[in-house]
Amino acid sequence: MAEPRTAPEESAREEGLAFLEPRVHAEGFPVAQVFGYAGSIILTFGSFFLVTRHLMPPVVLLAVILTLAVGQAALQLGVFMHIRESRGPAWQIVPLGLAFFIALGLIGMSVWIMMFKAGVS
């Protein structure tokens, strides 16, 4: 078995893209998974609780529960999907970050554009 031509860390640094250096999770007892599951349950049902209790004005409430949803997405990506694991630079971080940015722009801009008051309906 030959040695790999470049160690993963080297190639990420060679590109001058240190933030793409991969990090592989050690797998003992699945503590992270258990905490991730607990976290996702708490976040989801927490936002349900907030909505049913009408503790905040609607706009604030929507913002808060969407923030909780983003938090949970980050939790899934980090704990379960091991987003930083790769052989060589963890390239997926760049397009995935772009995708979330463009998705946000797509939804926000579409709502903004379609608020017009033209005759077509």
């Binding site: 031509r5 470049t6 060679e14 590109e15 001058g16 060589g88 390239w91 397009p95 772009l98 995708a99 463009i102 722009g105 797509l106 579409s110 903004w112 554009i113 379609m114 608020m115 017009f116 008051k117 033209a118 077509v120 309906s121």
Partner: protein, 661 residues
């Protein structure tokens, strides 16, 4: 004799009255003639086995490139004929050659085919032919997926093209805006054809985007960091990223229209709270990035061509890369400029007008860098270089008229006039098509092992270039005179007559250029100058370091790259790869195996699409089951690769004169 009921039903559904006109019957004759020729070659001459094993089941990126190129040129012919028919109809006022419906169908298929089935496959042909060689790789990241992309394109194109003679063409324009494209206004199968063929080809395109992003990120030769990547590869990376981000909104917009048409939902209908403008929003969310999807590869091609034929290093590499990246970003923030007149309000329009003008900055930077690359170089006027030289002024004028259109109040005047038509043909032909033809002449020796004849090529170029300006410059004036696009005829006395005649003459000049081009290709395949060195143009990048055409495995050994123009640097130090490998350097190579799965997947999707078009649910479900079955079969097939023995490689290298004695 009375035919049975089901047969009458089939005849009336598949061949309704609007497919029994002279143009369609002429097409029928052509199809039958082509079919007969194919039958003769495949069955009578017994070539079907060769075609099946070498071409249909292939997963080799170089052969897939040839298939894409054949498809693109065939589609260029079909959509070009559409354009000539349109221009003939418009040459004189009150012309009656085409009915309004026929005219609508022709401009719809002209636009759809030129964008989706000519420009896209032409780009993928060059990506496939060049990118793996340029980055020092043996194939793309996913060879089988690559073949699937091709067959989805091919069967999508087949579906759209057969609409002309089976069932009726789409006729709502290449953008297919609702409510016109809804069932209420266009009840036939034409729009279903449009939707299904674009959905099927769109899946293939998305997969190609994924394939090339991963290929370029993960398969570069050691030492080739991103800042040593050739610019064509950079443009391929940015194009593929644009495809990944832009095609999903199109898929969603088309699917929603399809569900509206076939299953009575209420997305874009006029009643039930539907909103047709949401389609326009989603369509241009794809449509604007698409403009850059087709033009960025041309930028990449010109960057390679100009450096090679000026015998100079490209001027301002870092800035060229930065402007590619910033164009890719800005391309997502400008889509509303396609529908300023929708009435979204001054804030929205001002925002998108400004973001559109911003794109002129990185594009201008690139223009200057190409000019500075030529400055002081030893320029060789080959056909590829001629297209590059023609591109610069043409694209600058196209870009400048684009800035005029980006000015919102002015756009309210010019929207949907011939000024707009002239503008986008100016950038799409002057940018994309000039670039693709330049790339075709430049990389032809690498793809086929012989040069295209330069003398004939220059004839084709001048006819095409002059024909282009004679066609489209009068259209700017027609737009200023107030002529609307998509009108099938016009009355006397509006002052449009002479300009339309000139424009039509120019269009036939471009048609003549296409014929010369085809003659050039056919002549050169037989008599063209063979390229025995592998380096036909005194090139700079890695693809010129290997034989033409490249052997099946591309590189017997993968090189380590230390320079931005590795092959040029090597030649500077007096080296050639030709005598460098000794027999002991060569080891066995694992190559992907041919498989019928991609072809079968395409055929299954075709069956599914055909069933959906005619709302024959059993056929559609059968097609879908075939798709799933093919995927499962493919999943259980673990024998994707085969070894090519070291001796076979040594034999090939020796026969190419690249092995040390």
């Amino acid at each position: 004799m009375a035919l049975p009921g089901w047969m009458l039903y089939l005849i009336h559904t598949l061949f309704p009255a609007n497919t029994r006109r002279p143009t369609e019957l002429g097409a029928d004759v052509l199809i039958i003639a082509t079919g007969a020729i194919l039958f003769y070659i495949l069955i009578i001459k017994g070539r079907w086995r060769h075609v099946w094993t070498e071409w249909i089941t292939t997963v080799d990126h170089k052969k897939i490139a040839v298939l894409y190129l054949i498809g693109a040129l065939a589609m260029l012919f079909r959509a070009g004929v559409d354009a000539l028919m349109l221009r003939t109809q418009l040459a004189l006022p009150h012309q009656g050659l085409l009915s309004a419906l026929e005219y609508d169908q022709l401009f719809t298929t002209h636009g759809t085919i030129m964008i989706f089935f000519m420009a896209m496959p032409f780009i993928f042909a060059l990506f496939n032919a060049v990118i793996p060689l340029q980055i020092g790789s043996r194939d793309v990241a996913f060879p089988r997926l690559n073949a699937m992309s091709f067959w989805l394109f091919a069967f999508g194109a087949l579906l759209l093209n057969m609409s002309f003679v089976v069932g009726g063409s789409p006729s709502a324009g290449w953008t297919a805006y609702p409510p016109l494209s809804e069932n209420v206004f266009l009840p036939g199968v034409g729009q279903n054809y449009y939707l299904m063929s674009l959905l099927i080809a769109g899946i293939g395109t998305t997969m190609t985007g994924i394939n090339f992003v991963v290929t370029i990120l993960r398969m570069r030769a050691p030492g080739m960091t991103l800042m040593k990547l050739p610019l064509f590869a950079w443009s391929a990376l940015m194009t593929s990223a644009l495809i990944i981000f832009a095609f999903p909104p199109l898929t969603v917009a088309l699917s929603m229209t399809l569900i509206d048409r076939l299953f009575q939902s209420s997305f874009f209908t006029l009643g039930h709270g539907g909103m047709p403008m949401m389609y326009v929003n989603l369509f241009w969310l794809f449509g604007h990035p698409e403009v850059y999807i087709v033009v960025l590869p041309a930028f990449g091609i010109f960057s390679e061509v100009v450096a090679t034929f000026s015998s100079k290093r490209l001027f301002g590499y870092e800035v060229m890369v930065a402007s590619l990246v910033s164009i890719m970003f800005l391309a997502y923030g400008t889509w509303v400029h396609h529908f300023f007149t929708m009435g979204a309000g001054p804030a929205v329009n001002a925002f998108f007008g400004l973001s559109t003008m911003l794109i002129a900055i990185p594009t201008g930077v690139k223009i200057f860098n190409w000019i500075f690359t030529m400055w002081g170089g030893r320029i060789r006027m080959t056909v590829a270089m001629l297209y590059q030289m023609a591109f610069i002024p043409t694209f600058v004028i196209g870009g400048a008229t684009g800035i005029i259109l980006a000015t919102v109040p002015v756009d309210y005047q010019f929207h949907n006039t011939y000024f707009l038509v002239a503008h986008f043909h100016n950038v799409l032909i002057g940018g994309t098509l000039f670039g693709l033809l330049s790339g075709m002449y430049y990389w032809w020796p690498k793809m086929f092992g012989m040069k295209l004849d330069e003398h004939q090529g220059k004839w084709a170029f001048w006819l095409f270039f002059l024909g282009f300006w004679v066609t489209f410059f009068p259209q700017y004036l027609l737009g200023l005179e107030g002529m609307q696009r998509r009108m099938n005829t016009y009355p006397f006395g509006l002052g449009w007559h002479m300009l339309n005649v000139i424009s039509t003459i120019g269009a036939f000049g471009m048609g003549a250029a296409f014929l010369v081009l085809v003659y050039n290709v056919v002549w050169s395949l037989r008599h063209g100058e063979r390229d025995v060195t592998g380096d036909a143009w005194d090139g700079r990048t890695l693809e010129w370091a290997i034989p033409s055409p490249a052997p099946e495995y591309n590189f017997a050994r993968i090189p380590v790259v230390n320079d931005r123009d590795p092959w040029w640097a090597m030649k500077e130090s007096g080296a050639t790869l030709a005598n460098s490998l000794s027999a002991s350097d060569i080891h066995a190579i694992e190559l992907p195996k041919s498989t019928p799965v991609p072809f079968l997947l395409g055929a299954s999707f075709f069956l599914f699409g055909f069933g959906m078009v005619f709302s024959w649910w059993y056929v559609a479900i059968l097609g879908l089951l075939c798709v799933i079955g093919t995927l499962i079969y493919s999943g259980f097939n673990y024998e994707e690769h085969a070894m090519l023995s070291a001796d076979a490689i040594r034999g090939t290298e020796a026969s190419l004169g690249r092995l040390q004695a």
